[in-house]
């Protein structure tokens, strides 16, 4: 082998080493970055909540073992458990200030203040669809954990969400996906919007069940053990994607202004809508069988002047149908689309169309707990 090196060769070899250094430095610089918060948007953070010493919110299908523990403990306290399923609006606060709490916390507080036996337990899935809610519900049911109440926040836009994310699918392996097979991975549209922030974690491996997969695990495992920085590289990829999305590709948003903003988001595909409606049918059927009281609410949405983000006719049509159905089947239905005033969705002049400030969380908690109180009173009156 010749031992002479040209300037070009030195540049290549040195570049390789500098690349390693640049990588390590970048990982270090993003140590405080939270991919989950980034997925929520630039002004919003995900929050946990603890009430009376126990967590009352679980996110993204994580920590379900602890959720079951809390559930059991509340049942042992002879509380009426209200399982509250919803998308990221359940746990994320726009324009967050220290000390602020989410809706599930405030609802628990309200219930205690009026000496109600109701205890709220929230499970929030970012861009969660109704099939994923069904999977969570079945998972708890399988574990013998039946809530007294089931509250579901219905977000029209999430009817487009295909499939069930693997983490949630594992919770209810026996779930018959029927039409959902091959529809992709739950939260897929979230990942599409956020440039695959966590796509690689959700997606399977292209070398599954091959000897290479075992070798890959060994090599990556050793790298992660011997190089702490390497283990944090997922955070850095999420950070770069987030920066690209918010600072580079957001320029493409200008295209939105070129047309009718009433169709700013693609319409919800009919097959996915039907597939998710089927899941709702299943949830309601099981709830009826188990004598669980169901409360469905139309999730709050900012009332922005000008055209609506979806085709209004389809949006209204879906919720009208849902309300009529609830009326005829004795399911409690709340239309709180306009509950949260526009200023509570804002951060400066920007609007986060999916997540509101803490004041919005207080309003949501108030609306839900008041509705629950009314139902409790009606039930009492009916018994008398």
């Amino acid at each position: 082998m010749m031992k002479t090196l040209k300037a070009r060769d030195i540049a290549i070899l040195l570049g390789l080493f500098l690349g390693g250094g640049l990588f390590a430095l970048s990982v270090h610089q993003t140590a405080d970055f939270s991919p989950e918060d980034a997925a929520l948007g630039p002004f919003t953070v995900a929050r946990d909540a603890v009430f009376e010493g126990l967590p009352v919110i679980f996110r993204n299908g994580d920590g379900m073992g602890k959720a079951r523990e809390v559930f059991r403990s509340r049942l042992q306290e002879r509380k009426q458990l209200a399982l509250w399923l919803g998308a990221s609006h359940l746990y994320s606060i726009n324009n967050y200030h220290p000390g602020e709490e989410i809706a599930v916390y405030h609802a628990n507080k309200k219930a205690r203040e009026r000496s109600s036996p109701i205890s709220y337990l929230g499970i929030g899935l970012p861009n969660g669809n109704l099939n994923e809610f069904l999977a969570i519900f079945l998972h708890l049911r399988e574990a013998g954990l039946l809530p007294t109440w089931l509250i579901i926040g219905v977000v029209y836009d999430d009817l487009r969400e295909p499939g069930i994310r693997p983490k949630v699918r594992k919770l209810a392996p026996g779930l018959d996906l029927a039409g959902g097979k091959g529809l992709g991975v739950g939260g897929g549209n979230l990942h599409g919007k956020t440039d695959g922030l966590e796509r690689d974690r959700e997606k399977g491996s292209a070398i599954e069940d091959t000897p290479q997969e075992r070798l890959e695990k060994l090599v990556v495992g050793e790298l992660e053990k011997g190089w702490v920085t390497f283990a944090s590289r997922h955070r850095l990829s999420a950070f770069i994607n987030w920066k690209l999305r918010t600072h580079i590709f957001s320029v493409g948003e200008a295209f939105r202004k070129m047309g009718n903003p009433a169709k700013r988001v693609p319409p919800v595909p009919l097959d996915l809508k039907q597939w998710n409606e089927g899941a709702l049918d299943e949830i309601l059927r099981i709830a009826r069988e188990d004598e669980i009281e169901v409360v469905l609410y139309k999730a709050p949405h900012p009332q922005v002047a000008g055209p609506f983000y979806h085709i209004r006719k389809r949006y209204d049509g879906f919720f009208e149908q849902l309300e009529n159905r609830c009326g005829s089947e004795g399911i409690h239905y709340l239309d709180i689309e306009t509950l949260v005033p526009l200023e509570y969705w804002m951060f400066g002049t920007a609007i986060d169309p999916w997540h509101f400030q803490e004041k919005g969380h207080r309003l949501l908690a108030e609306a839900i707990d008041s509705a629950m109180q009314n139902i409790e009173e009606k039930d009492k009156n009916a018994l008398q």
Partner: protein
Amino acid sequence: MLFNSFSYLFFLGIAVSIIWLCPQKKRVYLMGMASVLFYSMWRWEFVFLVIFSAIVDFWAAGRIARSNNGLSRKILLGLSLGINLGLLVFFKYTYFLCDNLSLLPGLWGGSPSWDGWKTFHIVLPLGISFYTFQTISYTIDAYRGSGKTTDDFLVFLTYVSFWPQLVAGPILRASEMIPQLEKPGSISLSDAASGIQRVVIGLFKKVVIADNLAGIVDASFSRYFTHFTAIDVWVVAILFGFQIYLDFSGYSDIAIGSARLAGVRIPENFNWPYMALSPREFWQRWHISLSSWIRDYLYLPLTGQQFKARSSGGLGMAVSDETSRRTWALFLTWLMMGLWHGAAWKFAVWGVHHACFVYIFRRLPILQALPERRPILAWLITFLVCMAGWIPFRAESFDQMLAMYAKILNPFLYDLSHRAVYGPHYFRAFLLTVAFIGIHRISRWDFERRFGSYLPEGGRLVVIAIMSAAILIYLKPVEQFIYFQF
């Protein structure tokens, strides 16, 4: 084994180190062993299929080269082609053939009688389309007396199974590879640096850009297309056009770089295809080794022209010849090229789409003269023709392909106000096109003359550093290479 993984880099590091340390004459055997190990990291049992294919052609080509009997040479050639193509048809086209044959009774009013074939489970061996073409070319070259044969089976096996190009090409000719394997040259540090640079560039294209485009393209083609406007269709076609280019040319870069690290030079497979000024020129720049193969072993024999014996130049270089007026050969060649890519009619449509435009450009003098008179317009037309070609290639079904074609042909659907694709995706398509043109222009600069030698090398250092850091961040074997399925 998948290139876009840490396990491959680990394998490459070890294999190359051992090859470097090994005496030059023994190097070929180590390469052969490394190649078998590489392939067995996918499914070890299919290694025997590669070896079987190699044994058949080594034996047949050897006998053909030594024989003077025309009939026995023909029989041996037929045997080799029959076995190789038989295996390819069995593994790759059985489902397709059964599916289509089962529809035949329906043509005469009957109902499909037997669908038992659907219960067969046939695994498509990785790279079978590539190594089969390579072994076939070896035997045909021996028959034609134009290729170099070897008496050493292990050299031949290494030629067939050489790991950098085994699973997705470039498809190499024996005359290009065997001399390098039989008499390996010394490996310089410059070779090593060049190899590393190509691997870094290839991985960057694949894991940083193509894989990040994959999610967007997959979602666009799987779900929302019914709501697309014509411009939406163009945008997703362009996004896929760049995804497949960066995916496949990235693979080729890694293959060329890996081979260079092992002391073997293999020819280029891409040459800025989207800068072509005519469909014919596109085929001189895209998947050059396949289109050169098709040129030499299908198109030129069909048109009665003299074949070439190298995996460069592409198919485009042949179709403008005077004797190539046999239109049926043009369409048949591209039809076969399409079907080589996959056992589905949509791939045939992709091939015919290109044949149609090559034909139209050949027949219309105004289009023939366009590259010289109006190069920008020629580029734009060619770019759009190639991007529209990706619609059948990527479509999930024949129906989807027809629907998307119908949209771009409908002038009333050229409407931005009803678009269904997110604005940022439009921007991505625009950015990729501009970046491609920009990088192509920059690559043609004479840096040394403009800036002296230090500044360009400083730039190279920065680019390699950024690319390496990005690879460390994104490298994960999540996405297959698109061409692995072929």
